[in-house]
Structure formats: C-alpha cells, structure tokens
C-alpha cells in the first residue's frame, strides 16, 4: 500500500521528533509523524508502583510491551541474552507519543560550555572516542531558550556560577522548597558550594494552558495526573496537528527507509496499527527514534547503494552508545526528612561537573526524585540484611529519614559500546532486533567513585549519621539517557551526521534525537535533544524553502 506523497516523514514522536514535526508543519511543510506507541493522556495515569517506566517489573506502562518487543544483549562474557522491555538490560525508553518526555522526571539541563569541548578541555582519553562537538554552547543557546519557553521550564539557576550565559531567564519560578531541599541547601552553602533550584520541564504555575504541579509522589516514570509535566505530547505535537499540515499515525512501526538509485531516500516502509505493510513516500525523512532504535532502523535499511545500511559507509552507525554512570550516596538522618512533596528532585550543584583533579568530566549532583516504598525496599545499607526482621525494621525506621544525592556521571564514549542488528532474532513484525554489546569505559567508574564521595560529604554536612554509596556497574550503558550512536561531526569518516543533523552521504535524510550527541554531558539529556531539534528544524525549513531538498 503506497500512500499519497508528503514533504516529510518523521519516525518517532519523542523529544526530538515532536519538535521537528511542529517546526516543519508551522513552516508550511506537509508532515507524517509515525509513532510505534499509543497516545496516552493524563487520564491514563494509573499511579501503579510496579508497572511504570521507572519500576517496570510488571511491565512498562507506556511501552514497549513484553509480548512484541525484544532485544539481544551480549554480556561481558560474550553470552547472548534475549531481553524483554521490562528487564533493565533492554535499556528501554518509552514507546508512546511524547516518548520519554511523557513520563520522565523532566529535568531541563543545558549542558555546560566545556561539555561541548571535551576533547579540547581534557585531551585524548585512551580507549575512548572522546571528541568536541562541531558546535558550541553559544551556537545552541538560542535554541535552548526556545525549547525552555515553548515546552515550559520552571526553576532558578541564578546561583549556578558554572552555567553558560543565558539570553533569557526561565519562564517559570521553582516550586516551593521541600524539607529535604532546605536541609541540603544550608549544608551546601556551609561547604561553599553553589546550590540552586534545578530546572524542570514542569509547570510550577499555570503555563501554556495547563495547570501547575500538585506535588504528588508518583512522578518520574509516571504519567502526570494533572498534566503539569511538559513533554512534546502536550505542547508541540498538538500544535503541529493544529496547523493542519501534520498527520500523526500511532502504533505504526517503521521497517526500513526506502532509497532510490540516486542514493536518496524516498520514504518509509512501516507496519500500521493493524499490522499491514504500508509505504509513505516523502521528499525527505527525519529519524527520531532514540539512540537505540534510530541506528537499528538505519542499519535495517540496506540497499544496493548502501549495503551496510544508511549513513554507515565508515561503520559509525550504532557506535559510541552511552547513557550515564549514575553515582551518589544515601544518608540516614536523625529526624524525618520525608515530607511527601513531589517531584522530589529540586536542588542541584554543578561544582563537580568539571575541574575535578586528575579526572575527565564529572557530574551534576542533586537530590533524588521522591521515593516510593518499593524503591526503598532495595536500598538497605551494608550491614542491614536484605531480608528478615532486621530488614523490615530498617524499612520502618528509616523510610522517612533517608536522603539520596546522586548525579549522572558524564561517560567517555567507547567505540565498541554499540547497537547492531541481530542476525537471527526478530521482533513481532519480523524486523531484526537491536543487538547491544560493549561496556563502560573504566574511567567512568573512577569518576563515579569520586562523585559518590562528594555526595556523601554533602549528606554528612547535612547531618547524616550514616552514608553508603550508590555506584554504577561495569556493563553497557544506555537506558533512558541513551545517546551517541549517530555522532554529529564535520568529518564523514568519523561521524554520521553534520552539524545540521543531516546524514553525511544522504542529503535528504536527517537524524534528530540523542543519537547525534558527541558526548552526553553530566546531565539529563532531554533539553539538549529538544534544543538540537529546534536548531535542526530551522535549518531544514530554510533548506526546504531554498532547494526543496533536491539540490
């Protein structure tokens, strides 16, 4: 089934794709936005502690489902495991309109100036493909601002002396402080650190036609019951559709990108919501399917001219998969600190993102999102048995008296940490699945250890009578912060897209999601994905108005 031609097909309605859809549709282009998942709303907020995107032991509430999706994970021992989405090893990101932004914690970080110049700042790192971005913080700044105002960010980073200059303040004030926030703020100030109200893609006050946060305890991993969390599903995607130029097709699974004999893409083959194969012809294609699914689609789009997949002439598609090596500490306090005010995470420091003696990079540190009992059940410190009367007693006494401080350690990109397509295993639609292999760079664990020590020191200053570390494992990193697999760069020999997110050797194919990140900062990546989407869309619309992508 071949459908009427449109200007653009966008694969994936997440952080990147949603923004591109809106910018293109408002620019007058006809757009089809394909999304493999459903369009959920605030009504679908089930507040189910065991079935959400953070704790998915009984399944991922917003996809993908365990029945139709799988991946292959190659362990450190070379053993292959078929893993399901509800398993952490799948490195899942939500499959729904809004993608991760539908149920995320919604931190809204701008990377720091040095995060775009890691190679220049620190030099080469053995065993890593560490490099500079082909653009600077200043290049991206107007688009960070655009994303902050169009999607909606609350917070106050005035006191963050490490941030790059901003052209406009955040549109919304921070939420009032929780008890934990006040304790940590005073402690950080005593330590001469620079605490501030961390920025969140969350309404603290009515904004954009939606109300403010009601501060419930079901936040990260859940749909927002009052629609106060700002994702692409409740901002740019409705605006894209309102133009009349954008058609959103949900439950449509992309199979391959179709190319012609001139080496240009001509559309996307996909399975629709009833499992029928359809082809959507287009003047150009934008892939925004996440750092795992984007390379999978490019690699699955082999043809005579592109025998190893699209954009993969130099074998860089799927390389450098990275997420964050989360590291931090837990502290037990003398009095109750839990006050049942979501979203929990509220205070941060950037004192340890850079300039750590002898180390490359670092991490932002902040307090953890509000904790549900099921989360606390696996956190007992050394010395407390993980089952039996003593464990129960620990739970009862300390659930209300524990503060966690942690941060996403910036990872060193590793060439062999990668996404391939599996030669044997296919999903329910018969499409070869993603095959994940590789491991973290050893340096990440050294930095993680250092950051964990800093978190513990902050907690001790805050009055913790006991602290214990939270440290990452050695294994492959990706997860909800997945990035890096279609690197942006000026040289086609060691990158996949140029600084406009255009695939080097296919002029009418773009990648707009976390895949293009050269490095992933010591921060949650959502706002950077959004800023890059704003920047890339502007270029696409301008190019379209000039050459119609035919040049």
């Amino acid at each position: 089934m071949t459908l009427p031609r449109v200007n653009a097909v966008i694969v994936g309605a997440g952080a990147g794709g949603g923004i591109v859809a809106k910018e293109l549709a408002e620019g007058g282009l006809t757009v089809v936005l394909l999304e493999r998942g459903k369009w959920y709303t605030a009504y679908d907020c089930r507040k189910d502690d065991l079935r959400n995107q953070r704790t998915s032991v009984l399944g991922c509430a917003f996809g993908p489902d365990d029945d139709r999706y799988r991946r292959v994970l190659v362990g450190a021992d070379g053993q292959e495991h078929v893993v399901l989405p509800s398993d952490g090893a799948y490195n899942n990101d939500a499959a729904c309109v809004g993608g991760g932004t539908f149920s995320y914690g919604a931190m809204a970080w701008r990377y720091l100036e040095k995060d775009f110049r890691m190679r220049s700042t620190y030099g080469a790192v053995a065993g890593s493909t560490l490099d500079d971005w082909p653009l600077s913080y200043q290049d991206l700044e107007p688009y960070y601002t655009k994303a902050e105002w169009e999607i909606g960010v609350s917070g106050d980073d005035t006191n963050n002396i490490f941030k790059g200059a901003r052209s406009r303040p955040l549109p919304m004030p921070p939420l009032p402080p929780s008890r934990e926030h006040l304790i940590l703020k005073a402690a950080a100030e005593r330590l001469k650190l620079h605490p501030f109200d961390l920025p969140m893609l969350r309404n603290s006050v009515p904004y954009n036609g939606r109300g403010g946060c009601m501060r419930c305890r079901w936040c990260v991993g859940f749909a927002c019951e009052v629609d106060a969390k700002c994702g692409t599903h409740n901002t740019v995607i409705p605006r894209a559709i309102a133009t009349g130029n954008c058609t959103l097709r949900t439950e449509c699974v992309a199979k391959k990108i179709v190319t012609n004999d001139q080496g240009r893409v001509t559309g996307v083959e996909y399975f629709d919501e009833r499992g029928r194969l359809a082809e959507q012809p287009a003047d150009f294609v934008v892939v925004s399917a996440s750092a795992t699914e984007t390379p999978r689609l490019l690699l699955n789009s082999q043809s005579r001219l592109f025998p190893s997949g699209l954009g993969n002439r130099y074998d860089w598609v799927g390389r450098n998969l990275m997420g964050h090596a989360y590291s931090g500490a837990y502290g037990l306090m003398e009095t109750d600190t839990y006050d049942d005010l979501g979203p929990g995470a509220s205070i941060a420091i950037c004192d340890y993102n850079h300039g750590n003696p002898g180390l490359v990079g670092g991490a932002m540190l902040c307090n953890e999102f509000i904790r549900l009992p099921i989360h606390f059940a696996s956190l007992s410190p050394p010395g407390v048995p993980r089952w039996g009367a003593a464990n129960k007693d620990f739970m009862r006494r300390f659930f209300n008296r524990c503060i966690a401080v942690h941060g996403p350690v910036q990872e060193m990109p590793v060439f062999d940490a990668r996404v391939q397509v599996d030669p044997r295993v296919v999903d329910d639609w018969g499409i070869p699945v993603a095959r994940l292999s590789g491991a973290r760079h050893p340096q990440d664990l050294v930095v993680a250890n250092y950051i964990s020590g800093k978190a513990a020191a902050w907690l001790k200053e805050a009055g913790a009578t006991m602290t214990w570390p939270k440290l990452p494992g050695k294994g492959l990193s990706g997860g909800q912060h997945q990035a890096g697999t279609c690197r942006m760069g000026n040289d086609p020999k060691n990158s996949v897209v140029n600084r406009q997110c255009q695939v080097h050797d296919v002029p009418n194919l773009f990648v707009v999601d976390g895949s293009v990140h050269v490095t992933n900062g010591g921060f949650n990546p959502a706002l950077t994905i959004m800023a890059i989407a704003c920047m890339a869309s502007e270029h696409i619309v301008q190019t379209w108005k000039g050459t119609r992508m035919r040049g």
């Binding site: 507040k47 189910d48 065991l50 059940a377």
Partner: protein, 194 residues
C-alpha cells in the same frame, strides 16, 4: 533421600489446572510453602508480615500474568525448598520452626543448598527471585493482590489518600486503622542507630 523427597513433593504439585483451590497457578502445597518462605522474608512483628499482607496472592496472580514465564522456576524452586528442608531437618518446610526455616533459607541464600533438586534452578537464584517478589508484593501497589489494606504504607507512615487534592476517606473501614502522621511520628523513637 532427596530424590525421594522431590518425588513425594512433586505429586500434588500439578499446577495451573484450575482445580478447586483459591490459587490461580500454585497448588495448595506450593502456596503453603511459599507463604512460609515469604513470612520469613518479611515476618510479622508489631506490624503484619508478608503472609497477612497477601504476598502469595500477589505472586500467584503474577504467575498467570507478567511472571508466567517463571512458573517452572517456582515449581522447581518450591520443590527444591521442600527437599532441602527435608534433607536438613527431616521435615517439610512448613513444619519447621522459624529458626529452622531461616537456616534453610540461609543455606539457599548462600548457595549452599545443593543436590539434584537445584540442578535446573539454583537455590540462590530462586531465593533472590522470591525476595524481590516478596518486596514487590508487600511494598508495592495493593491493586496487584499484595499489600493488603496498604499495610506496608501504613507501617511506613505514608499518608492516605495518596493523591493530593482529593478528600481523605473519613469512613475508612481499614482494620489496621490508619493514624495521622503526626501522632504516628511522635510514637516512634529514634534509637535504632545508637
């Protein structure tokens, strides 16, 4: 000895046949053994334990749902627990006193429980599974069959209703009788870490 025990145990353990038991997947014997294990993982003290909270109901329900791929693991693991307790104390697990039950579980936890019965599923991996499922059933959402009357949330002094902006149910009939947080807090002393 162990092999005999497995055979004896396996007889009534034909599961998921929709018999007249209250369980969806487990046999009566399996459910009793599992409940005894869970109750050692989260024992009753001043607050109810895993058995009262319905952790077995939670696990049994999931074994016909998201955990259906773990049915065999549970069958083998529960038979293995039976066999190990028979080998250690000459009695089925449910007939042991709490100290003996803990000794059996510790031998599984440390991977010391061996024998034919643990060839397909190791004692350690089975015990780890039951620990995590017990935590889920006790501390997770009551909608899945465990955490009866939100017993663990009350133990942790988590206020109900959980959603701000909705009126508390003043006519709550909970048997455990939730007290408001302030009085609950003052009733607890903070001497554990001394």
């Amino acid at each position: 000895m162990q092999i005999t025990a497995v055979a004896t145990a396996a007889g009534p353990m034909v599961s998921c046949l929709g018999s007249s038991t209250p369980w969806r997947c487990l046999s009566e014997n399996e459910a009793r053994t599992l409940e005894a294990i869970c109750e050692r993982i989260i024992p009753a003290d001043q607050d109810p334990g895993a058995a009262w909270a319905g952790v077995v109901t939670f696990i049994d329900r999931q074994l016909v749902g998201p955990y259906r791929r773990l049915r065999k693991t549970y069958q083998l693991g529960l038979a293995g627990t039976y066999a190990t307790s028979f080998a250690m104390f000459g009695k089925p697990f449910v007939a042991l006193n709490p100290q003996q039950q803990d000794a059996v579980l510790q031998s599984m936890d440390k991977g010391q429980a061996r024998g034919e019965c643990w060839k397909q599923v190791s004692a350690k991996s089975f015990f780890d599974l039951v620990v995590s499922h017990t935590m889920q059933g006790f501390y997770g959402d009551p909608r899945h069959g465990g955490n009866r009357e939100r017993v663990s949330w009350k133990m942790l002094r988590l206020p109900y209703p959980p959603v701000r902006g909705r009126m508390p149910d003043q006519t709550s009939t909970d048997s455990a009788g939730f007290t408001d947080r302030k009085s609950a807090k003052s009733a607890k002393s903070a001497d554990w870490l001394k």
